[in-house]
Amino acid sequence: MMTRYRGRGWIAFVAFALALLVAVPAAALLFPAGSPLHLSEYWVSLAGKIVCYAIVALAMDLVWGYAGILSLGHGLFFALGGYAMGMYLMRQIGTDGVYHSPLPDFMVFLDWKSFPWQWWGSEHFLWALVLAVAAPGLLAYVFGWFAFRSRIKGVYFSIITQALTYAAMLLFFRNETGFGGNNGFTDFKRILGIPIATPGMRVALFMLSAATLLGTLLLGRWLVTSKFGRVLSAIRDAEQRVMFCGYNTAHYKLFVWTLSAVLCGLAGALYVPQVGIINPSEMSPANSIEIAIWVAVGGRGTLAGAVVGAAAVNGAKSFFTQAFPEVWLYFLGLLFILVTLFMPRGVMGLLTREKPA
């Protein structure tokens, strides 16, 4: 009943893994520029971005597709992970900034003499990684604890998550909060002491993101095919019956909700070194809504659909925003309406006859 990856599913997974971990690196590094098989830096970084988005889409599918919790604030968890990694990259700039100070330029500009409390230890790569998963995880846990205990559900929950990411965006926009204001963090030069904008580093970051995506797919599949996954989709379909079966549904929702936020944080930490910037616009309400659209387009409750949806919508986005920048938002809106009306099970619904979980 759960999406069962029978033989065909595993073949698709292995093909996908080979494409990400072998074909892309080979095309980018082994074939010289000018060769028809060469993959330019533009395409590698676009693919890297989409891989990070696909991790976010998977995280969203776990809470929305399986547990029935529609979050319209997942961009916040993604951005928090991105900021944690971003500050580490700021400190890697060292004294090579405009002001040649060990402090990041925006702090020198504000005449700050030391780092604010939240950036303690941010010069350490491992601490930045811990922060990238712990900050979104902790926020999600505390928020979820109150929301699920108070039995806030459905559209009310969605609206509160939307407000949460909006409030965080306003907070991060302010200069005095120590997040770099509306410019955020950018102009990164190195990661782990290695120059960041080289073809080799781009491919390395891409492969790391791809491995994380594949790991997230396997983790997600293990979760949804376990008894835990069956309880989650039962909560989505008939929460009261689940409670009367003796399950404390709030704990189930809190677990998957927090896990989802952690995955988003990880995706954000992988995303920022590849795109070279993180700023509060990542927390804008529209960004979080877009995440839900990826999953709806790909097909909820299928995992693979989340990856397909993230790739399809973002592929279309990078085409449309270049070719017809003014129609992109109309196209996105139209896509959402058409999918909702005619493809309730998304692209995966067209590809398979299997019922969603």
């Binding site: 008894k227 069956r230 989709s233 003796g246």
Partner: protein, 262 residues
Amino acid sequence: MSDASLGHIAAQQLDATHGVVLYLQDISVSFDGFKALNALSLAIDDGELRCVIGPNGAGKTTMMDVITGKTQPDAGSVYFGQTIDLTRLSEAEIAQAGIGRKFQKPTIFEQHTVFENLELAMKADKRVRRTLFARLSSEERDRIAAMIGRIGLAGTADRVAGLLSHGQKQWLEIGMLLMQEPRLLLLDEPVAGMSDDETERTAELFLSLAGSHSLVVVEHDMAFIARIARKVTVLHEGGVLAEGPYEQVQNDPRVIEVYLGR
């Protein structure tokens, strides 16, 4: 996350030494001034099969909501056995303590298979951590298979539950209750939508459960009540109007006036 935060429920043993499994005393519930239950008192014996009847709005469903923790009473006490105060427990804790409830409208997991429905209901450690790593033992598979046979759904184990007929869904829900191994079953209109044959088999099942389980059956189908009834409680306007053997209640002029006569 600690053990305690993830759904640890203190195992309380049911103490039915005085022969009473459920005890409601002076329960009152009001919604916006409307008294759904008005000082209702009721005691269910261990192993008893009790039928509860009453006109619409008499408070039958509200009574079940209070027992199962869905609704907090404004006043009064609800005890399961001698020691377990149900007003202090959540729905999940009450279910774990040994009370199963069947809803008026069959409530099953429509997108799961029959087998999975029974698996999820089966008595087990239902904390998150345990559920993540839970594996069915062959003994548990046998128990589920036996239940599928017992509720007349043989051959449907892998069928999606949403595709079952209305009567089959009712039976599946009853099967789910039994998988929880409850001491007390609350059954809200269990034979609604069943064929005569299914109704008869339900009556036989309930009669066979009485003794080892306590059952509270709310029904409108008087033929069904007559078939299974021993002691009947008549609710009216949130309180007990009459209580006693079926024949006695049936001939009670007050009962005839508010309910049977209409």
